[in-house]
């Protein structure tokens, strides 16, 4: 197990190096002079030079790269040009908000996706199967931006069940948190639930055709036990694999969803940073999110290993 973790961590290093180089290069990749964008039209040449000094842009390239990585290893992602606070502090402060919605969304994804996929497989070629397939198709086709707005119109304006946006921290009011995060979580979840429905359906159909399932039925076991005990465990493998992908999509999708619903999470932080050309925040945010996703996927792989004895044996 330890060697597996070490091996995965070592595999993550080249990815982190590549992402950090991209993060460093952002200032050069975006059109226009960063100092002019930050300083604005009123900035004098002296002020522009000061901005370049503050950003380290006046140094030779190799010095800039070295400084960037030295600060990175110290955990210093710089200071936000817009918020005026350390980038790391801003990201850490907002992480719980985005993670909370992502977890809520993941729960919805698994519950909806698994149940719909199982219903479809168990009612293969009947109307339930077709309805579930249609749901899956809509889920992967509809843009979550559009879906969010439709849900606001339906659940907030027409029915008045949920607020149009805003965020109430869980610690302040758990019910308020639930009310303000349900629509954004659902908007994020429906896309992934559609994918999970399809994967669950096809995997379960494959599993249900296996000999050991036929044997279990022949032994007179109830369908609940056949599916629940014997089939479901094998369906979980691809589901677990999907969780990593789902979380990646949820985190990246949060940029749009958080902006629509006015949620002060990492997504809206990065969205604002891009609009405001807050380069330290863009660089730091990119590194932060990428690192988090890499670590997350390592955890997912560990979980996969724990669930599937064949992987554990192969790994020896």
């Amino acid at each position: 197990m330890i060697s597996f973790v070490v091996s995965r961590l070592l595999q993550a290093i080249p990815i982190l190096i590549l992402v950090s180089l991209i993060a460093f290069g952002i200032i050069y990749l975006i059109p226009g002079d960063a100092a002019v964008v930050i300083g604005g039209p009123s900035a004098t040449p002296e002020e522009l030079e000061q901005i370049r000094r503050n950003l380290g842009l006046d140094q030779p390239l190799h010095v800039q790269i070295a400084t960037f990585y030295i600060n990175l290893f110290k955990g210093d992602l710089g200071r936000s040009l817009t918020l005026g606070i350390p980038v790391m502090d801003a990201l850490i402060a907002r992480s719980p908000i985005t993670i909370g919605i992502a977890i809520y969304s993941l729960v919805l994804t698994i519950v909806i996706g698994l149940s719909t996929g199982m219903l479809a497989a168990l009612n293969h070629n009947r109307w339930i199967d077709q309805a579930a397939t249609l749901f899956a198709l809509l889920g992967v086709s509809l843009p979550n931006f559009w879906l969010s707005l439709v849900m606001i119109v339906l659940f907030s304006v027409m029915l008045g069940w949920l607020p149009t946006g805003g965020y109430i921290p869980f610690t302040q009011d758990p019910i308020g948190w639930l009310r303000t995060t349900t629509l954004p979580a659902a908007a994020l979840a429906l896309l992934q639930a559609g994918l999970l429905t399809r994967i669950t359906r096809s995997t379960l159909l494959e599993v249900l055709n296996q000999d050991y399932i036929r044997t279990a039925r022949a032994k007179g076991l109830s369908e609940w036990i056949v599916v629940g005990r014997h089939a479901l465990a094998n369906v979980m493998m691809p589901v677990v694999t999907m969780v990593g992908l789902v979380l990646s999509v949820l985190l990246s999708g949060s940029i749009v969803i958080e902006s629509i619903f006015g949620i002060p999470g990492i997504g809206s932080l990065l969205g604002s940073a891009i609009s405001n050309r807050d380069y330290p925040m863009i660089q730091g945010g990119l590194l932060f999110v990428t690192t988090a996703l890499l670590l997350l996927n390592i955890v997912i792989d560990l979980l996969y290993t724990a669930l599937d004895p064949r992987v554990r044996v192969k790994g020896r």
């Binding site: 946006g165 006015g262 807050d278």
Partner: protein
């Protein structure tokens, strides 16, 4: 130096203003109802509330209810004392003496003195958005706790106009804060509301400042000046950047005020019970400017051909869904500097003339790159229609579409790769005079003249707008500058955009303005 030219309430100016309110000086506004949380849905999400260093409307919408300035613009965009009770100009026009409003305290309880004013000005000179207005200042001093004096290098009759600009006001903060870098200040002002909570990308909460001392010369709110009162207990500005979500929040009553209702939503919202729509007729100027450094727009005849080809009505109809006014001017109708000089070149819609000019200029089908963004619908639609009109006149017009920050940065920094840029002048057009024209003058030169000195005729007129001894002289110079703008095509104004704001029907006292004002607004129980 003898004292003259007092800008004081109690003169004819004030009497006229009082007459416009239909009240006597004793009829100060009082809140008919107090209490409640007023909720405003904002289009933009400010990252800071440091008003001295921020240009965005999103910041002003909030911060101008917290901060005050010595002099600001009133309802008619005339310079009006606010934190100063009296402003005196010396006969030679070199010095301005500001007598401060008495009894004012900051939100942290500290009494405001001229030392705080001086420190705030020192800060603005260093980091302020429009610090270029301070280049004419020779010195300033605080001879006593209630007096602040500015001395100029040379007389500048438009100095108070520049100083009172509400797009980048010199707001007053405690001296201890004034020493801090941009974005690092505690938000402590003198206004009727104080900052209670700021969660970026979520909301800002203001609460009534109980010790607020209002100005008493005007009976009510005028622009951001006047007799301001905090009628509600708190104001929550919610950042709802997505338009549909913001309109939905107004519809459900989750917000009381939204600052901008898109044309496409107006009919629907007008029919919703409990919602009222208010219109600010002249909110912004839809405008664009060519790049004089990049061929073929470095050619005067090509630029003139572009102007000749345009049908402004078609452009504005597409840009604003019909909510517009045609306007052959760089100012809003009815304002001090409004003129139609050069207006015969506006809305020519003359394809034949355009073709003739192109032939005269030796145009050889070079691409004319129209730089725009899809993020701002009015600009994008303007560009689309303009492209079609230019192509009909034989101009090889092509669109270059970026996100707004990239498009803006490209127009500011790059002298190649684009030929025409689309933008809006809202605050700067409303301020009038030199403020409106400044971007087209050296050193800004947004139209990128090959000679950094810029168009000499325009610059000469602009200098006169800044330095003309009387308003009439400055207005005549403005007309000249505008004429040059049209003739040489430094910029092309397409028309005036209105702004429709939405409120819930239990909101009273709210008047649409260029920025959101929450003073003198109350909620019906």
């Amino acid at each position: 130096m003898s004292i003259s030219k007092r800008l004081v309430f109690g003169t004819g100016l004030a009497a006229a203003m009082l007459a416009s309110f239909g009240a006597t000086a004793q009829d100060q506004f009082t809140c008919p109802n107090q209490g409640g949380d007023l909720i405003v849905g904002l289009e933009g999400a400010p990252g800071t509330l440091d008003q001295q260093t921020a240009t965005s409307s999103a910041v002003r919408n909030i911060a101008m209810n917290v901060f005050e300035a010595l002099i600001i613009r009133d309802e008619n965009m005339a310079p009006t004392p606010d934190l100063a009770d009296e402003i005196t100009t010396s006969d030679d026009g070199l010095s301005y003496t500001f007598k401060l409003r008495q009894g004012v305290t900051f939100h942290n309880g500290k009494p405001m003195t001229s030392a705080d004013v001086l420190a705030s000005f020192e800060r603005y000179k260093t980091v302020g958005v429009s610090r270029s207005i301070m280049t004419s200042v020779k010195s300033w001093e605080a001879p006593d706790a209630s007096t602040f004096v500015i001395t100029l290098n040379e007389a500048q009759p438009a100095f108070l106009e520049n100083l009172s600009s509400s797009t980048a006001p010199v707001v007053i903060m405690p001296a201890e804060e004034a020493g801090k870098a941009a974005g690092q200040v505690e938000i402590i002002g003198t206004g009727p509301f104080k900052l209670a909570e700021f969660v970026p990308d979520s909301h800002v909460k203001l609460e009534r400042f109980a010790e607020y001392v209002p100005g008493n010369a005007l009976p009510g709110l005028s622009g951001f000046a006047g007799h301001k009162q905090a009628c509600v207990d708190t104001v929550t500005f919610r950042m709802l950047t997505e338009t549909a979500a913001r309109m939905a929040a107004l519809e459900t009553g989750e917000v009381h005020i939204v600052e901008s209702v898109p044309a496409i939503s107006m009919e629907r919202l007008a029919a919703v019970e409990g919602v009222e729509l208010l219109t600010l007729d002249a909110f912004g100027l839809n405008i664009g400017y060519p790049n004089w450094s990049a061929p073929p727009t470095d050619n005067l005849q090509v630029r003139q051909a572009m102007l000749a080809a345009l049908n402004m009505e078609e452009i504005m109809e597409a840009a604003t869904d019909g909510v517009f006014q045609l306007n052959p001017s760089l100012q809003f109708p009815g304002t001090t500097y409004f003129s139609t000089a050069g207006g015969e070149l506006y809305n020519q819609n003359n394809v034949e003339r355009a073709k003739a000019l192109l032939a005269e200029g030796g145009y050889n089908n070079e691409p004319v790159v129209l730089l725009t963004t899809q993020q701002i619908t009015t600009m994008y639609n303007t560009a689309l229609v303009m492209q079609a009109q230019l192509q009909a006149a034989g101009i090889n017009a092509q669109l270059q579409v970026y996100d707004w920050p990239t498009a803006l940065a490209t127009s500011e920094k790059e002298t190649t790769g684009w030929n025409f840029f689309f933008t809006h002048w809202t605050g700067s057009a409303a301020q009038g005079g030199a403020t409106t024209l400044r971007n087209l003058a050296a050193p800004a030169n947004i139209y990128k003249p090959q000679d950094p000195a810029g168009d000499p005729a325009y610059n000469a007129a602009f200098q006169q707008v800044q330095n003309g001894a009387t308003v009439e002289e400055r207005a005549a110079a403005f007309a000249e500058a505008q004429k040059v703008t049209f003739e040489n095509v430094l910029a092309i104004p397409f028309g005036v955009m209105s702004n429709v704001q939405g409120i819930r029907s239990n909101v009273e006292g709210f008047k649409p303005f260029y920025n959101t004002r929450v003073s003198n607004v109350w909620l019906q129980p």
